[in-house]
């Protein structure tokens, strides 16, 4: 029983360090932007990140050492390009891929419970 638990924990730990999981992709950033318009939570303190993880650019998914550094970053071309991209249409999703393949909208059946 313990052996199985350890193996499961190892798998989970490995997935955390996969490079694909470390940085946010376009669609994750887009969702965050759509969501965080309502709630601005204080960022958690993290020793390993530059600036204790406090100065964060959501569009580029980058941490900065100081507020001034972050504000400098906001003026760069790369950041402005990202902002413009995020203002545009929603990034490609699995639904887009299905529709492009020639399928219709998914059929989830009649609504079972009132939302």
């Amino acid at each position: 029983m313990v052996k199985i638990l350890i193996r499961w924990n190892i798998f989970y730990c490995v997935s955390v360090f996969l490079t694909e999981n470390l940085c946010l992709r376009d669609d994750a950033v887009y969702d965050e932007l759509q969501r965080s318009d309502s709630a601005k939570n204080p960022l958690p303190f993290d020793e390993d990140l530059p600036g204790m993880g406090q100065y964060y650019c959501l569009h580029c998914d980058r941490y900065f050492a100081h507020e001034s550094v972050r504000d400098e970053h906001f003026k760069t071309k790369r950041h402005k390009k990202r902002v413009k991209e995020m203002m545009g249409p929603k990034p490609h999703t699995q639904l887009d891929a299905d529709l492009a393949a020639g399928m219709g909208m998914p059929d989830n059946g009649p609504k079972l419970m009132p939302v």
């Binding site: 992709r25 994750a28 490609h92 699995q94 299905d98 492009a100 020639g102 399928m103 219709g104 059929d107």
Partner: protein
């Protein structure tokens, strides 16, 4: 068993093929082959990659809205097994496929319409400009019958003349 669509190129992923990547937020990305998987890791946008279905639909290369598309859907409610229903569904799939293919062909034909006429015109101009590559200008000057007559004729007639010169 489910036949999924590739996240990148929208082709069908059959069992035993491809890779599924499950992100930490539990979103699943399915790829039909390593080509699509590698493009995904490179963070390429499928809408900008020419050979994907997303690009083709966006730029009008393939037909976008059609009534045959609403038959194939992702059905997330299980159906009670009914032999008659299964038989009719299989027959319907075949017929719908035939109709869809016919419509796609028609769309392609419409898209390519007017291309031949344009090509003929361009070929005529090219031939006129590059006739010195075919016959030496001195020969053409001596024997007037070899030059292309500069008269405006309809497309079909011009095509015949071009063929005569090229032979």
């Amino acid at each position: 068993m489910r036949l999924e669509k590739c996240w990148f190129c929208s082709s069908t992923v059959y069992p035993g093929h491809g890779i599924q990547f499950v992100r930490n937020d539990a979103k699943i990305f399915r790829f039909c082959r390593s080509k699509c998987h590698k493009n995904f890791k490179m963070k390429r946008n499928p809408r900008k990659v020419k050979w994907t279905k997303a690009y083709r639909r966006l730029h009008g290369k393939d037909m976008t809205q059609d009534s045959t598309f609403e038959f194939e859907r992702k059905r997330n409610r299980p159906e009670r097994y009914d032999r008659n229903l299964a038989e009719n569904t299989l027959k319907a799939i075949k017929k719908i496929d035939k109709i869809r293919v016919a419509r796609e062909e028609r769309h392609h034909k419409l898209r390519m319409k007017g291309k031949k006429a344009k090509e003929q015109k361009e070929a005529a101009i090219e031939l006129e400009q590059g006739i010195h590559l075919v016959k030496a200008p001195s020969v053409l000057a001596q024997d007037q019958s070899l030059t292309l007559p500069k008269i405006k004729v309809k497309v079909q007639a011009q095509a015949e003349e071009n063929q005569a010169m090229e032979e």
